[in-house]
Structure formats: C-alpha cells, structure tokens
Amino acid sequence: MIIKNLTCIECPMGCQIQASIENEKCVDVKGNGCPRGKIYAESEVVCPMRIVTSTVKTDNGKMLPVKTSMPIKKAEIFEVMEKINQIKAKTPVRIGDVLKENIADGVNLIATSNIN
C-alpha cells in the first residue's frame, strides 16, 4: 500500500489529504474536511479531472468567457483548448448556452457570461 499526499482543490480550505492506494485504487482517505474531499481524492489518484475555463471570440468582437459543463480529464486539457480556440460564438448569448456539444467525453462547452 502506498500513501499519497494530496491537496483538495474543491474549496478554499485546501485540506491536506492522505490517500491510501492499493492496486491503483484509493482504499482509504484521511484529512478531508468534508465528503467532497473523499470523492476528489478517489478520482485524483485514478484519473485527475478538471473544469477548463477559457474565452472564445464572438461575432461582435467581444470575448465570451466559457467553461466545460463538467470536469474533463486533466490529460486532455490541451486538446480541448485547441478545440475551444476554433469556436466563434454568435451573439446574443446567455449564461449556460451550449457552444459546442461533446467537446470531450460527453461534456459540453457552455457560456459563462451574457453578451447582447
């Protein structure tokens, strides 16, 4: 069994978590201040996932802030960034509008601001 030290990134508390790993699986979690930390650690030791935030151009010249609707694989961040940089959004656009479906593993790219 190996113990891996992690910092939970789910909230600003930044709890120091000790994850016990056996056969590439997390079997025990200590140090988490809340249940979200356990979920984070279990995912982090198997396949780290991150929400990606960025911007895309719009047809009126303004930049539109965007994010992936769910966390994506950390290893795929740069691939997703390449796809994001090819998108041009039509205005008007509202928070939550889908700009690209399935940008990675069933995750959509959505707008996080309103532009009229």
């Binding site: 935030t53 911007t55 930049m63 802030p65 740069f78 928070i95 309103n114």
Partner: protein
Amino acid sequence: MKKKYDIIVIGGGPAGLAAAISAYDKGAKSVLILEREDCLGGILNQCIHNGFGLNRFKESLSGPEYAFRFIDELKTRNIEVMLQTTVLSMREDKTITAINSKEGVFSLKAKAIILAMGCRERSRGALNIAGSRPAGIYSAGTAQKFVNVKGFLPGKKVVILGSGDIGLIMARRMTLEGAKVQAVLEIMPYSSGLKRNIVQCLDDFDIPLYLSHTITKIEGDKHVTGVVVSKVDQNRQPIPNTEIHFDCDTVLFSVGLIPENELSKSANIPLSPNTRGAIVYQTRETLVNGFFACGNVLQVHDLVDFVSEEAFLAGAYAGEYIKKANKGRDAVDVKNGKNVAYVVPQKIDKNIDGNVKLFFRPTKMLKDCTITVKCGDEILVKKNKKIVAPGEMETLILTKEKTDKIVYEIEVLVEGDI
C-alpha cells in the same frame, strides 16, 4: 435629472451590487449605483476562472456568472444605475461630484453613501529592481484583462513575480493559451495564494514555484529578454552567488492589492494604516457619519463570497441609518495583538444588537495555533487552528453576550509554532 437620493453606492462590483440590493430591501426608497466602467460586475468580469460562490451558492461559478446572479437580482428592484460615470470627489455633507459624457461634471446628494470602489494592484514602483524599464512588464491584473477581455496574449515566455492568487491564476491562463511560464518567484518563504491555486495552476502544469526568491535584475533594452533571480535571506536580502537566469519576453507582477481610497480621503474619512481602508464599526459605518464601506475598498478579500457578505451588512445598516436617529455610540476598540496584522471592524459599538464577526489576518504562517480574543485578562473566545497564513483571511464570531462584557478594548492574538 434627479439630484437627491436616499443612498448612493460608489462602485458597481460585487460589493456595490450586494450593498445596493440590501439597502433597498431595508426600505431605502431611492438607491443609485455609480460605476465608471460600461458594465456592472467590477473586477469579476475579467476573472473567467471558476471557484466563485462556493460558500454562497454551493456551486463553483466563474466571475461573470457570480456577478450576473447579483445583476439579475438588482434588475428585479427599482435601483438606478449610472454607468461610465466616475466619482471625482465627495464632501462630508454627502455631496458627490461625478463626471460622465452626457452630463459633464455634476453633483448629487445622498442621505448615506456606501463606498465600494474596490482595490488596485501594487505597482512595480514599490519594488526596487535593477535594469532599465523595457516593454513587456505588466501587473498580473492588467495581463488578465488583456487575455480575458481583449483576447490578446501579451507574451510567449513568462516569469511571474509574486505568488498572489491573481499571479497563479494567470500562470495557468497563459499556459493554456500557449505561453510557457518559466517560473513563479516568491520573496517570502510561503506562498501568499490559496493552496488550491498552487495545485491547480502550477503543479498541474509543472510550473516551478521558487519560495524565498526574487528578481534582482531585468534584462533587455527595448523589450524584456530575461531576468536574473536570486535567493533571499531571512531579511529578504538577495544572497550573492545564488543567481539563476531565465529567458523571457514578459514579466508579470502579482505583489499585492491596495484598497482604492483616494475618494475617501476627499471626505476626510480616517483610514487604518494596517488595512489601508477606512476604520469602521461592525456596521461598516466609517468614522464619518453616514459613510459606509465594504468589499475590497475596506479590506482586501481573498474570496468574493465574503465581499458579498460584508456588503449585505453595510447596505442593511445604511438602510437603517437613513430611517432612524442614531442611538449614540458606546464604542470599544479592537486591537491587533501578537501575530495579528489587522482586524476588521476596528471598533465595536455595543449599542448595536447582534453578533459581531471579526475578520483578520495573521502576520506570518503559524502551525498548531490558538486564536484568542481577550478583554484585559479575561478570555472571551479561544479557538484552535491547525494552520494560519497571511494569505488566508480568518474569521471569528463574538456573540452579543461576549461583546456586552467588553469594557474598554479587546485584543485578538494568535500563538503557535513557526
């Protein structure tokens, strides 16, 4: 044009938005927000990363999403907003002089004023670095505006001085957009940013963080070509023969924020040398009657959730203020004790009902510590904490029962291992 308002809020960032909503909900009939930019939301408009609103909404929102939650709330109320309007000065009688392109220079009068002007970044001028002043040097906030609002990447090879959150966020942002971030340098032996940002902005992209290091020379004639970095001793002095060289075309500074209080000075509002914001009671009223302050203009917050919380408080008390005559004050002072850099509020008025939440920062990182609030020799509150750091604001609640016991002043102190 209307000239008289119950309440005028200066600044339409998260603090101004929440303060206006809360003052209106307390019964203020005419509330006006003055904002110099062309939209509401303040600095949140350029903070496109997520992590906002975890306390308030139990969701991880981006800056603009957080701002729109409040802008949408504002729109359901009869609150006036004047955009692209800059306040130039104020007087103690609550007259405001402002300017915009439609009215030119004009004046307004309010029964109460809420200050919500936010903060600005400390400039490079505060630091003393050898070298000429080549192009390619920006504050992290300016770079954030370039990349996120204007859609323009200021450079390809970057060194960041200071490990404040904005610097860390920009390290990741520029990396995602194709730049190479060579290093983040921090003169202190600890980072001033949140731990989660070290993990998700630096570690995720193998960006090295050098603690106890600073830039000692910036190279380049017209444009930055590189920097020389040295390790520093306990007194933050560069240690000879520890130089490391980095090639770069861009240097970002993330060396702290200062409340923007030029305006407050025009109304003779006393400021605290520790926070650089106004001295306030727990109601967030300053020492000049009818002037309230909240958000980053009062104290630099790490989390926007606390900004909103503080602004709701200020707005509510401003709403009360215009309704009824002041009971008169019975005020005690809140002192910074051992290892405490500042406490807000600086004064507690015992005539005000309700609990008092103290916000404070330690002067240094301490482990296994006890936080104590004392009145003379009597201990009012004692709390244990695993770790405290200047980069993370602490809070403590004093119940009414405790504040009633305070005689003359209280002291907040932190003791622990270094």
